[in-house]
Symmetry: D2
C-alpha cells in the first residue's frame, strides 16, 4: 500500500457491515476503523475485528486517513450520514436504500456530483460474474429483441406473525418488500437489459396485519423470542408488479417475504424474439438459455471474467459478489479500469423512483407513469 | 365386454383425437369408429387405425352401439356437436373449450344436466397422480391456510411470425393464450385449492401484430412453409393476470405462447401460512414442498394412487394423464367409483367465465369482477 | 385389421404382463387371450381385461389366430415356453432373461433362427426416443472417440430384510442384481456404443444373508406382511463391475437393489475425447452433454423421432418405451421398416454371457475374459 | 491483534497460494509476507498483494513474527519445507500432498508431533458446512448402518493431449489422478464416515500416453499454447477403485481428469440400511437424503453452523470452505475451541497410504491390503 491506497471506515456492524469488513480485508484494502450502534457494542465489535472503534460520525469523518466511508447503518440514517460524509470529502459506498424518499436520494446524487466524490450503492447481485455475462449476452443481441421480463424475489424470513424486523413498521410509502428486495430485482432488470421502467401497476398484500414485536432489539433474519407486544403492520408482505419498460417491453414481477420455502429466491427470465435467458441467485454461476431448438443450454461461470477468481466447478457465491462490487468501486477511486460497471447513487435514485411508483399504484389501484426528475440511466462508468 | 360396456366414437383425428383413440384402446374400451375433417382424410385415418369411418355426425350419432362421443374437432364445432350428441342421448367427453362464449358453455351444461347424460371436458392435467396428491395435501391443511398462488403456463410454439395456427385469427373476445393454456392453469388452480376466482386484472400483449398464414391447412404445433399470406393477429400472444380468489387469496399468473425455450412449462406454486407446494408439468411426478425449515422435500409419485400404474422411478407422463381422466369418466358412466374427480361441463363453464373476465379486463384496462351465472364449484362427483 | 395383422397372446399376468396387454391395445394390435399362473387367477384376470383365458400353453399354442406369443411368465419357464412357442411357429416376444444360463439362451437363439420366426427380448430402455438419440450421437462421432463408460442401476425395493422376491433365493450362478438390472445397463451400453464387453472384474455383496420369506405368494415390488420364514439369501444385493470393452474402452458399473432412495435409477455416462453424454432413466427425455466449454447442453426429446408421439414438453415415459419396443417388433413381423432396432434373442444371449462373467469373476475374485460362443453383436435388423 | 495473535507467511503464489492470502486476510489474520518461485516473481506478486517479499525459506523462517507457515509451493518441496518449518518452531498449514511417499509423510507427522507444533493439511472440502452436517448425520445413525459408498471425482482440465501440467510426468508411483483428486475423495469418505480403508482393487488408465509439453512454465488449469515438445505420460488419467472399509463397508470410486464436461465434480453417496445421503461439491450447500419413502429430502445449508456466515439462500462456496479450514486451524493455535475438526498431518499420511495402495493394486493387477504403520484415524482435535 502506498499513500494513494484508499483506506476505509465502516459504519454499522450488523450482518452486512461485518460482510463489508471481510470483503475489504480479502481485497487487501486497509480498514481504519468502525462505528457501531452505540459505544458499548462498537467497543466490543471493534475489538473482535481487531479494528479501531469510532464513537461518533464526527470522529470517523475527522480521521484524515479515511478516504472511503462504507454506510451499513440503519436505513433511516443513510441520507444524513451520506451527506455528512460527502461534505467531508469522503468517497461513499452506501448500502441501499439511499434514502426513504425520492427527494432524499436525488439530493444525495446532487451533492455527490457537486463534490466530485466517487459514490456507489450496493446492489450486490451485479457482483456475480454470471450477471455480467447475462448483461453481455442480452446487449449483444443473442436473444434477439428483448420483449418480456419475468422475475421474482421471494423470501420466507417474515412468514410467521412472530417474525419481526423494524422495517415491518416503516411508513407505508417507504414500502418494505418493494424497497428491500424489489429494488434488487428492479436494479438487476435495468442493469441487464439497459431498459428503464415507464409504467407500473402494483398490488400489495399484507399477510399479517398485526405482528408480535419483541421487547428489545432484533437483527435482520432473526425470530422473536421472549416477551413481545402487538404492532400494527403498515407495510406490504407481498407485491405483484406489472411494469412496462422503455420500448414497450413488458414485465411481471412477484415479490414476497412470506413465501414458505423460498429463502433468497431471486430469479430473472429475459424473453427475446430469438431466445431466453434465466438467472437464479441461488444458483448464481449458471445462466439457462432457452430457444426454439429442442435443447436447453446451461452456461457455466466464465472463469476468465474479472469477477471470477476460481476455475469452473469451484463455486463462488454471495460473499464473492459483495467483494466484486467493492473491488470495482475501489478501482474507480484509484483510477484503474473497473472490472465492470458498479451501481452508483444514480441507480439508488432509480430504485427510489421505482419504489414510489409501486406504492402509488398499489394505494391508488391504478396504473402509474413513473416520473423522471432527471436522467436515471444505468450508470456505466 | 358385455352389453353394458360403453363404446366410444371419436370426432376429430388430429393430434389429440388420435391420443383419445390410443387412450381408449389401452383402457380396453371399444372404439366403434371415427369422424374426421372430410371424407378423404376420414377414410385414410380410419383405415390406418383399423376403425370404422363415419362420414357425418348424423351417421355417427345414429349408430346405437355408440354410447359415448369424444369431441376432438375444431373449437368452433364443439358447441354444435356436443348439443347434437346430447340430444341423441350420448355421453359426451369434450375437448376444451366447450364453446367460444360463456353462453355457449352454459347452454351445454344445462342441456347435459337436463338430458341426464355424463359429461366431461378434458382438463388433462388433473390426470397426473401428483396433481391428485397436490390437491389432497392442500385440502388436508398441510400448507396451513393458502394465501397466494404463483403460476405460469409458457410455450414457444408461436414464437416466430412464421408460426401459424387458426387460433391466431380468432375473434379477440375468444382470446387465444388465455383460452388455450390459461384455462388449464385456471382449472388446475381451482381444482387443487377449491377456490374460485372473483376479481381479475389482465394485461394482454401481442408480440406479432401480423403473422404469415400458409396457403393450406396447418396442424397445431406446426410451422408454416411454402407460400404464405399476411394475416392481422387479433389475439394475445401473452397475458399477465392478477387474480383474487375467494377468501382473499391472491394470484399472479403469467401466460405466453412466445416464450423461447419454454415448451409446455406449466407450473403452480401454492403458498400457505405453513408451507408451499410447487408442481411442474414437465416434471409431472414430483411435488416440491417448501417450509421455513432448512430443507426442501421432493415428494415423488404416490405409486398407490389409482392414477399410478407403475412403481416409483418408472416415469408416467402425458399420455397416461389423458388415459386417467378418460378412465375416471368411464368409471362414472359404469357406475363404478371414479378414481378421482374428473372435470365436467361445469368446469368448462368456469373456464369460459375466467376467459371472458381476462378479455374484459385487458381490453378495458381495469379490474373486473367475475360474474357468476350459476354455481361453478369444482365438480366432485 | 386384415388377415395379415398379427394377433398376440400374453403369458403371465403380473405387473409386466398387464403392461404388455395395455401396450398391445394402444398400438391397435389384437390380443387374442392370456395365460396366467393357474386356472383361477387366469379366469379372473382375463375377465377383468375382457380377454379370452387360456388354461394351458398347449391350448394357447393351438389357437391358429395367435401369431405372436408374449412371454411374461416367471424366469424359470421362459426357456421351455419359448422353445415350445417357436416349435409351434409363433413369433416370440420374451421378457428377459431368455434363460437361466448361457446354454439355454444360445439354444433359443439357434431354434429361433432355424425356425425363421421373429424374436425379441424386452430390453425396454431402448424404447425411449432419447436412447435412440444417444445412440445416434455416439455413433456419429459427436463425442469423439468413446473412451470410458460410467454407469449405475440402483434400486431400493429390497432394502429391508423383510423385502422378499423369489429371485432372492435363485441359484448363485443365476445371479440376481446382475441378471435383473445389470443386464439392462449392459444392453444399454452395448446398444448405444456398439461395443462388446471383453473382460470383467466383479465384486458381489449381500447386504442381508438371511431374509424373511412370507408364507404365500409375493409380487415383484411388494413387501412381506404376515407370517414369514427365514430364508438364506444366495444371490447378490449389490455388484461393482469393472469392464473392458472392445477397443480398450473401460467401464465402471455399480448395481444395487438395496440403495435407499434410488427407485429405478439407471444412468449411463459416455465419455469421449471431445465430449460426454449422460442419460438418466428417471428423466428419460433428456440427454446431458458435457464438453470442455463452459456450458452444459440439455438435449430435449426429439419430437420428430418415431418413438416420440407428443410435442416437446409433454412427458412420455416408461409405458411409452415398452410400447415403442413392441411397435418396432411388429413392424418387422409385418415387413414394414422398424422405427429403430429392437433387441433380439441375440441380445438376450449377450446378457447371459455378461451375467455369467460377472458371477465367475465375483466368485473367483479375478478378472474374467468373456467367452464368445458366437457373434453377439448388437442386432440391427 | 495482540502479541499472541498468530501471524502467517505464505510459500507459493500460484492459484492456491493467493487463495490462502485472501482467506487469511478476510479472517483478519496478519500476513507477514510471501515467498514465490523466484526473486522476480516474488517481488512482483508481493507488491501486487501489498506484502513483504521473502527471497528464501531461510529468510522467511528467520522472521520471528511469523508463527505459522502456509505451504502452497510445488509438491516436491512440501516435505523439505515442512521439515524446516517445523524445525524452526513454526506451526505448519500445508497443501496436500504432504509428500510424494508414505515415508515422507510419516516422517513429517513424527517431526510435528515431536516438536509439538500445530499442523494441518488442506483437505479443503471439510470446510463446507454441509460436509460437517453430512458427518453429523452419518455419525448420528440417521442412515442406519453405513454399508456402501459410491463416489467420484471427475474433472476435464487434462482432456486434450495439448493440456499439460507438471504432474503429468511425475513418477508413476506418485500417481496423479489418485494423489491430486482421489486423495480428496478418500479424505471426505474417511472424515464423514469415520471408517478406514482396508483393501483396494484399482485400475488405472492413461488416455494420452503422450502429451505436448509447452516450452516454458504452465499454471494448473492452463492449456499449452505456442511451442511444445512431446512428453511420455507416466501417470494415470483415470482410475477406478474398489475399496473395502473397516467393518466390511464396500466402496466404488471413479476418478478422472479427462471426463469432458465434469469441471470439479466431486460426489459422495453414502448408503445405509435406513437411508442414503449424497453430497456434490458443485452444489455444496445441499445434502440429498434418500429413503424407502416416496420422497427425497434436500437438506439446505445449516445457517447456524460456525462454517456458515450468511443466511439460507445466500450461496457460500469454495473460497469460504478454504477460509473455514484455516479458521479452525487458527482457533486451535490460539487455544480456542475449533468450530470443527480440521485435517492434520495424520490425515495427510492416511492419504499417502491410500495412494500407495492404489498404485500397487493397479500395477500388480490384484487386491492390496493397506498397510498401517501407525494409527491413522481421522483426527478429531
Amino acid at each position: 500500500m502506498n499513500d494513494r491506497t484508499p483506506q476505509a471506515a465502516v459504519i454499522g456492524l450488523g450482518f452486512i457491515g461485518r460482510a463489508h469488513v471481510e470483503a475489504l480485508r480479502r481485497l487487501g484494502i486497509p480498514v481504519r476503523g468502525v462505528l457501531g450502534r452505540d459505544p458499548v457494542s462498537t467497543q466490543r465489535e471493534a475489538a473482535a475485528l481487531g479494528l479501531r472503534p469510532y464513537f461518533s460520525l464526527e470522529e470517523l469523518l475527522a480521521d484524515p486517513a479515511v478516504t472511503v466511508v462504507h454506510q451499513c447503518g440503519p436505513n433511516d440514517v443513510h441520507a444524513r450520514h451520506n451527506h455528512e460524509s460527502i461534505a467531508a470529502g469522503k468517497h461513499v459506498f452506501s448500502e441501499k436504500p439511499l434514502g426513504v424518499s425520492v427527494d432524499e436520494c436525488a439530493a444525495q446524487l446532487d451533492a455527490a456530483n457537486h463534490a466530485g466524490i466517487h459514490h456507489a450503492v450496493n446492489f450486490t447481485y451485479r457482483g456475480y460474474a454470471a450477471v455480467q455475462s447475462l448483461r453481455d449476452l442480452v446487449q449483444s443481441g443473442e436473444l434477439g429483441d428483448v420483449k418480456y421480463l419475468r422475475g421474482h424475489y421471494l423470501q420466507d424470513w417474515l412468514l410467521l406473525d412472530t417474525d419481526f424486523n423494524w422495517r415491518v413498521g416503516a411508513a407505508p410509502q417507504e414500502t418494505r418488500t418493494v424497497a428491500d428486495i424489489g429494488s434488487h430485482l428492479a436494479d438487476l432488470a435495468r442493469y441487464v437489459t439497459g431498459l428503464e421502467p415507464e409504467r407500473m401497476l402494483a398490488r400489495f398484500t399484507t399477510l399479517h396485519p398485526e405482528r408480535h414485536r419483541p421487547l428489545g432489539t432484533v437483527q435482520t433474519f432473526a425470530t422473536a423470542q421472549g416477551l413481545t407486544e402487538p404492532i400494527a403492520v403498515t407495510t406490504e408482505d407481498q407485491a405483484s408488479l406489472l411494469v412496462t419498460y422503455s420500448g414497450g417491453v413488458q414485465a411481471n414481477f412477484e415479490l414476497s417475504q412470506v413465501a414458505a420455502g423460498h429463502k433468497n429466491d431471486l430469479e430473472l427470465d429475459i424473453l427475446g424474439t430469438r431466445g431466453s435467458a434465466r438467472w437464479r441467485q441461488e444458483q448464481p454461476e449458471e445462466i439457462e438459455l432457452g430457444s426454439r431448438d429442442a435443447q436447453r443450454v446451461i452456461r457455466l461461470k466464465d472463469a476468465s471474467h474479472p469477477f471470477s477468481h476460481y476455475p469452473g466447478g469451484h463455486p463462488e457465491g454471495y460473499p464473492d459478489a459483495i467483494a466484486n462490487v467493492i473491488r470495482a468501486f475501489y478501482a474507480a477511486i484509484q483510477g484503474r479500469p473497473a472490472s465492470a460497471p458498479y451501481p452508483t447513487f444514480q441507480d439508488g435514485l432509480a430504485a427510489a423512483l421505482f419504489t414510489r411508483a409501486a406504492y402509488q399504484s398499489a394505494s391508488q389501484e391504478r396504473w402509474i407513469t413513473l416520473e423522471r426528475g432527471r436522467d436515471v440511466r444505468v450508470s456505466v462508468l
